[in-house]
């Protein structure tokens, strides 16, 4: 946060304005999280109901190597998705930010509109494209008749395609939101000072769009860790990820304490990392002044 140096403590007016946000977070975020925390220390009875007897059994299970491995795999997919979305999406966000102002809104809409269709229909359309007798293989066959058909569906490749597809807009939009102000004359000035395009990119463009890149990375990485629907539909549900496991605990396994414990650990890890990240950013910004 870039609080102006020497800013006084917020007056009562600022507190009043912040109050609705705090209330919302308190009631609809903290309270539910606290409930989950309570559940995670409970036990369950034969019928799968939560029993309010203190027990740390759920947390002991979280440390089981199976689940640690699943968590690591989820992190892997999330990282790969974020990196790919960044590489693919950054140029798009950059280009839209440089189009004439009147057109930008429309380009953004065009990016978003595919996601105003139903997720299931979209995913089944992808299955139609990637299946063995699907569109992709048909096109491939007509271009290069000899090659055997690609078996993309129900593989990690298909999962990656699905993940990148689903999260691309959440990388493009924040980068656009931050890059939009970038003055073209700054780039030209850098050119005039003799910088080559690579230098311009690394010394001017990247640092100035860094907040947007960080935001995009956050908005893609974090939600994608708990993603499971795409791996289920396009990956054949062969590899359980964190989202599947948590889902199962509340549905089929009827082990709410364990599901809550997994959730609590996951959220706590995130909170810790985010806290550290915010600290870094604050220190970085303070150093700039």
């Amino acid at each position: 946060m870039t609080v102006p140096a020497g800013a006084p403590s917020p007056g009562w007016r600022a507190w009043v304005l912040l109050a609705p946000l705090l209330a919302w977070v308190g009631i609809f975020v903290v309270a539910p999280a606290a409930l989950l925390l309570v559940y995670s220390f409970c036990d369950r009875d034969e019928l799968g109901r939560v029993v309010f007897d203190f027990s740390t059994a759920a947390y002991a299970r979280v440390l089981d190597p199976i689940y640690l491995g699943i968590f690591a795999r989820s992190l892997g997919y999330a990282t790969a998705t974020t990196v790919l979305c960044l590489v693919i999406g950054f140029p798009v966000a950059w280009w839209i930010a440089r189009t004439p102002a009147s057109a930008r809104g429309r380009w953004l809409l065009l990016v978003m509109v595919p996601f105003w269709t139903s997720f299931l229909v979209r995913t089944y359309a992808w299955i139609m494209i990637l299946k063995q007798e699907g569109l992709l293989n048909a096109v491939l066959h007509s271009l290069a008749p000899g090659t055997p058909p690609l078996e993309l569906l129900y593989t990690p490749t298909a999962v990656m395609i699905g993940l990148v597809y689903a999260y691309l807009p959440f990388m493009i939009l924040p980068i656009y939101g931050s890059a939009e102000k970038l003055d073209g004359s700054l780039i030209e000035a850098a050119h005039d000072l003799g910088a080559g395009p690579l230098r311009v990119f690394s010394s001017v463009i990247i640092p100035l769009t860094l907040p947007g890149i960080a935001a995009g990375a956050l908005l893609v990485f974090v939600p994608s860790i708990a993603m499971f629907a795409i791996t289920d539909l396009m990956g054949g549900a062969k590899v359980p990820l964190l989202g599947n496991v948590i889902q199962n605990q509340f549905l089929q396994a009827r082990d709410w304490p364990f599901g809550s414990a997994l959730g609590v650990v996951f959220m706590a890890l995130f909170a810790l990392s985010y806290w550290i990240l915010v600290r870094f950013q604050d220190r970085g910004e303070a150093g700039k002044r």
Partner: protein, 282 residues
């Protein structure tokens, strides 16, 4: 380190070098390729909305049946309307809460501000089933009946952090001189915010709003636990349908939505061009 200020209107125009033209063309080609990637499954689903086969697997002839069936299917239309209402309400509320929150946290040094920031980002990371079930237990304990209100509350809770993060990113790059200048010129903090900061934030607000709308529109799990029959959204109605084969009516519905929005985009572009070409006489 170069710091960016509101671009001066009188930046000298320079002729683009051949290098920059190549880069521009390359970027445009890349963007169009990415858009093609994004619209590929959409094209497929639109085509299949005309497929004369209930089990949407292979092409079996052209038909408008699904559109006809959609026109008289009251539950689906109601669900689509509900989704729209919920998504719009969610977007508006998320923008208000997200933008306001980002600005306040940026502008003032609140005690435990880092804690607040972390808590505010938490709903993004909460798996949907956890949020859904815990909200339901909350509502049930408090005796709040399920309906539009509870659904919108759930949606806003996981949507507003997206707006907040997007707006925060834009604020991070903002020159504090912007607000100081406005205040020096005699504006109250509220006027400075409304007339200087808010316009500056508009691209981030637009980005955040689009994200919030999209998240709300297609959300299933939190909605399942917080909705009742009257407030059932489209994803709720659709999800179990895979069991008997996704009805191509859903393709038709999705196709209509896409075509309507794309038509709107093209139409509004044409309107603007006409208005620019033929300005109304003073």
């Amino acid at each position: 380190m170069l710091n960016s200020i509101m671009p001066p209107a009188t930046a000298p125009k320079r002729r683009p070098t051949s290098g920059t033209v190549v880069v521009e063309r390359g970027l445009r080609a890349w963007t169009l390729a990415v858009l093609a990637f994004l619209y590929l499954p959409i094209a497929v689903l639109v085509v299949y909305s005309f497929n004369a086969s209930r089990l949407n697997v292979s092409w079996q002839g052209f038909t408008l049946d699904w559109y006809r069936q959609l026109a008289v299917n009251a539950p689906l239309k109601q669900a689509a309307w509900n989704s729209l209402v919920v998504a719009l309400a969610t977007t508006v509320l998320s923008i208000v809460i997200g933008t306001g929150g980002a600005w306040l946290l940026h502008r003032h040094r609140f005690p435990a501000s880092r804690l607040i920031q972390t808590l505010v980002a938490l709903p993004m990371v909460m798996p949907e089933i956890l949020l859904g079930i815990s909200l339901l237990v909350l509502f049930a304990t408090a005796g709040v009946p399920l309906g539009f209100t509870t659904v919108i509350i759930g949606h806003v809770t996981f949507s507003f952090p997206f707006v907040l993060v997007a707006v925060q990113a834009r604020l991070r790059g903002m020159d504090p001189a912007l607000e100081e200048a406005a205040l020096d010129l005699g504006a109250t903090p509220w006027r400075a915010f409304r007339l200087v900061i808010l316009p500056y934030l508009r691209p981030a607000i637009a980005a955040g709003g689009l994200m919030a709308f999209t998240l709300s529109w297609d959300e299933l799990i939190v909605t399942f636990f917080t909705a009742d029959a009257a407030s059932a959204t489209l994803p709720l109605r659709i999800f179990g349908l895979a069991k008997v084969g996704l009805n191509p009516m859903i393709n038709a519905l999705s196709a209509l939505f896409v075509l309507a929005t794309v038509a709107f985009v093209i139409f509004s572009a044409r309107l603007r061009r006409d208005a620019a070409a033929n300005p109304l006489p003073p």
